[in-house]
């Protein structure tokens, strides 16, 4: 541990050894933390732990964390409190955080956060309940998600003349999650399409299906552009539920309906076919 501090210029072999050892230290440390946490929360050790107050407090910390992760995994929408460091922040800097979990390619991504404050907390002109209304303060949702539109629908700003106005955090949260999940599903579908067509990451290929490029064509990844090796280009529109809404293929002599039907594989008309089925079909022809 102390050796890297004392060493001045050294031959590279020793440096390599040190870095290898240090990476080993980090893996061992994380393994230790994992084992400790498993031990501290396993029901069989709980009875033994109760005698030591320090261990017991650690154990309760770990248990509450376990409960939190359980909620995060299963509910995928969780709330937490935070503090705005700005001394001039409204409502003494109280922040309500919304955490949105997203799963993509069998992995939990870094959650998206929406942080709310209560800017009308001290305004005396509004009726009581409206003072507690929330407003989106900060968020990490990508700009292709219509967050401001959802906020305007479900979290309107208070108006003392309009008492019918209501805020609905639940609907807002579900709306944002729906959009985020759809966005990631579309991203995943495009990646699957590329894979099924035999297109590598940036590399060329795709001799099997004649396709040379499949890439998202707009910010929301609703439109997917498809390119063939012989110069034909196509547009695929993915709908909200993952169905192929529209498909147009344009060749040298205008619209090429044949190629469009071929891509859909006789599965039916656009609008009834799911994008995943196109993936499956492409993968099938690619393998054959």
């Amino acid at each position: 541990m102390s050796s890297p501090l004392r060493t001045s210029p050294q031959p590279p072999t020793l440096d390599d050894e040190i870095s290898a050892l240090q990476s080993k230290i980090t893996t061992l440390k994380s393994a230790l933390a994992l084992q400790a946490s498993t031990l501290l929360t396993s029901p069989s050790t709980l009875a033994l732990l109760s005698s030591d107050p320090k261990l017991a407090s650690q154990s309760s910390l770990h248990q509450s964390h376990h409960l939190q992760t359980l909620y995060r995994t299963c509910a995928t929408l969780t709330l937490f409190r935070a503090q705005d460091p700005d001394p001039n922040a409204v409502d003494a800097g109280s922040i309500l955080g919304l955490r949105i979990e997203v799963v993509s390619r069998a992995k939990f991504l870094r959650p998206y956060y929406v942080l709310f404050n209560r800017p009308w907390a001290s305004s005396s002109s509004l009726p009581g309940p409206q003072r507690k209304w929330l407003r989106v303060h900060r968020h990490t949702v990508p700009s292709c998600i219509p967050l401001s539109g959802l906020a305007a629908r479900y979290l309107p700003s208070p108006d003392k003349d309009d008492t019918r106005r209501k805020q609905d955090l639940g609907k807002f949260a579900r709306g944002v999650r729906r959009e985020v999940v759809r966005y990631h599903a579309r991203l995943g579908t495009v990646a699957d399409l590329r894979k099924a067509a035999g297109l590598g990451r940036g590399g060329d290929g795709g001799d099997k299906s004649g396709l040379v490029d499949i890439s998202p064509a707009d910010a929301e990844v609703r439109h997917v552009s498809v390119e063939w090796g012989d110069g034909r280009t196509g547009r695929l529109v993915i709908g909200d539920d993952g169905e192929v809404e529209k498909l147009v293929v344009v060749g040298e002599n205008g619209r090429d309906r044949e190629a469009g039907r071929e891509l859909l594989g006789g599965l039916g008309l656009a609008g009834t076919v799911k994008a995943e089925e196109v993936v499956r079909r492409l993968a099938g022809t690619g393998g054959a």
């Binding site: 770990h62 990508p142 910010a219």
Partner: protein, 474 residues
């Protein structure tokens, strides 16, 4: 070259050649460095670009003629030969003047095409990323037009509840933008992907002439007096658009270039609009020379509405899987823990002096307020921030006055001096961070707008906060 010029609304063709001795050409080419000039020339000679940048080659029937007829740069016989010539120039040492002369009086003596100029101009942008001042605009959908009782069409309003994200299709956009440009000016458009950043750059080169033939460029010096260049950047995956300040070659006034920009800001949303889906551009109060900084604040990242200390929520490197059972460490604690363990020598175990403790605390506070943003070397700085203070002047500075500010609406006799703040520098917020780290600014009492978390460069401060919160995306 056609003999007659007929006014038209068509754009200037890319292959249109400009006299290489004109001021515009020399100005665009001479500001490039020697290495860039050679790489630009090689780019012109690339197979794909050759049709738009044909060099002056030796005609075949002249083979029997004496080659050296006083020509300083004898024309090459094929593009391949020329390519090798420039490759050898790349390895040789020499002055920039030589290469420039070779291009203008030798290989492209018959004219430099507008496409070539566009490539050279973009090369300048790559060489000098801060050469243009960009303003960020947000593309917002508009409500469907409504009519009032008298049948008059109401002015269009931004549709705040719309859930559609405006889409951008380059060729369609160009076509409809062309339709909105006035017929008495001619423009040349060139779309290109930025080499390193996820951007699509549209270069618009405008001249004051109703004709689109080379005659209009050669005669009466239209090119040199009234040509302007404007760059528009479309970031990938983000409904924002960056427009550069127009640069002009001639002695045009500031008002004229402003009006061109206003014209474009008016025309671009119309070109972006689709049938039954109109959009408008909204200024986002962010103007900077740094494209990377712009992308960081208005691009397709998570950090758009989570600047400053909030960036800890946007950091994708942090693993926060709900399947991990390991107790997470709060954001600031792991860094300090690491430091303590690393410096676990006996010497460091001694009680730190007051000064050391103050320094350490200042660093921690800076980390809390700025997160991982506003580092000196991160290349995401803005170079100018303008703020107007609209808060009443605090006389006592006690808690009582603070209360006054909160309820500032009723006290109309409050003393409000007209104070404007301008921060200037390579990276304004990194500078403020450094001042916090040195303890010059008290990081805990520092207002939030000094951390740059709003993501604006122009704003008005009221009640200690930037009004409007345009930066937070709502």
């Amino acid at each position: 070259m056609s003999r007659i010029s007929v006014p038209t609304t068509a754009p200037l063709p890319s292959s249109l050649r400009v006299n290489p001795s004109s001021t515009t050409v020399t100005k665009i080419l001479s500001r490039l460095s020697r290495a860039s000039l050679i790489s630009v020339a090689l780019d012109w000679l690339d197979e794909d670009n050759l049709s738009l940048a044909t060099p002056y080659l030796r005609p075949d029937q002249d083979d029997d003629e004496e080659e050296d007829d006083g020509d300083f740069y004898p024309p090459a016989s094929s593009p391949e030969e020329l390519r090798e010539e420039y490759l050898s120039l790349q390895n040789r040492k020499g002055s920039k003047r030589d290469v420039l002369d070779r291009i203008t009086t030798g290989d492209w003596r018959h004219g430099v095409s507008l496409y070539q100029l566009a490539i050279a101009d973009l090369q300048y942008l790559y060489d000098h990323p801060t050469s243009h001042k960009w303003s960020a605009y947000n593309i917002v959908p508009l409500k469907a037009p409504t009519e009032d009782d008298d049948g008059e069409v109401q002015p269009l309003e931004a549709d705040k509840t719309s859930l559609t994200i405006p889409r951008f299709h380059p060729s369609l956009f160009l076509k409809s933008l062309q339709a909105h440009i006035l017929p008495d000016i001619k423009a040349h458009y060139n779309l290109d992907r930025h080499k390193t950043l996820p951007l699509l750059i549209l270069r618009i080169f405008v001249i004051d002439s109703p004709y689109n033939t080379s005659l209009s460029l050669f005669s009466n010096g239209n090119m040199d007096t009234g040509s302007k260049t404007i760059l528009i950047a479309f970031p990938d995956g983000s409904p924002n658009i960056f427009i550069s300040k127009p640069t002009s070659t001639g002695p045009t006034g500031a008002s004229e270039s402003k009006s061109l920009r206003a014209l474009l800001v008016e025309g671009i949303p119309k070109a972006l609009s689709l049938p039954r889906q109109r959009v408008t551009l909204q200024s986002t109060s962010l103007t900077t020379r740094n494209l990377e900084g712009l992308l960081n604040r208005r691009g397709a990242t998570r950090g758009n509405a989570a600047g400053g200390g909030w960036s800890i929520y946007a950091d994708e490197k942090v693993k926060e899987s709900p399947l991990s059972t390991v107790l997470p460490s709060p954001p600031l604690s792991d860094a300090t823990e690491e430091e303590e363990q690393g410096n676990g020598d006996k010497k460091r175990r001694e009680r730190p002096t007051v000064e050391e403790r103050v320094n350490k605390r200042a660093k921690l506070v800076a980390q809390a307020r700025f997160g991982d943003t506003a580092r000196v070397g991160d290349g995401k700085g803005v170079e100018r921030v303008d703020l107007v203070m609209e808060d009443p002047f605090e006389i006592g500075g006690d808690d009582a006055d603070r209360m006054d500010i909160e309820g500032a609406d009723d006290g109309e006799e409050a003393f409000r001096p007209n104070v404007r703040l301008t921060f200037h520098g390579n990276h304004v917020f990194a500078g403020i961070r450094q001042l916090v780290e040195c303890g010059v600014i008290d990081g805990e009492k520092m207002p939030g707008w000094m951390t740059g978390e709003e993501g604006v460069t122009v704003g008005a401060v009221r009640n200690g906060r930037i009004r409007g919160h345009k930066g937070s995306g709502l």
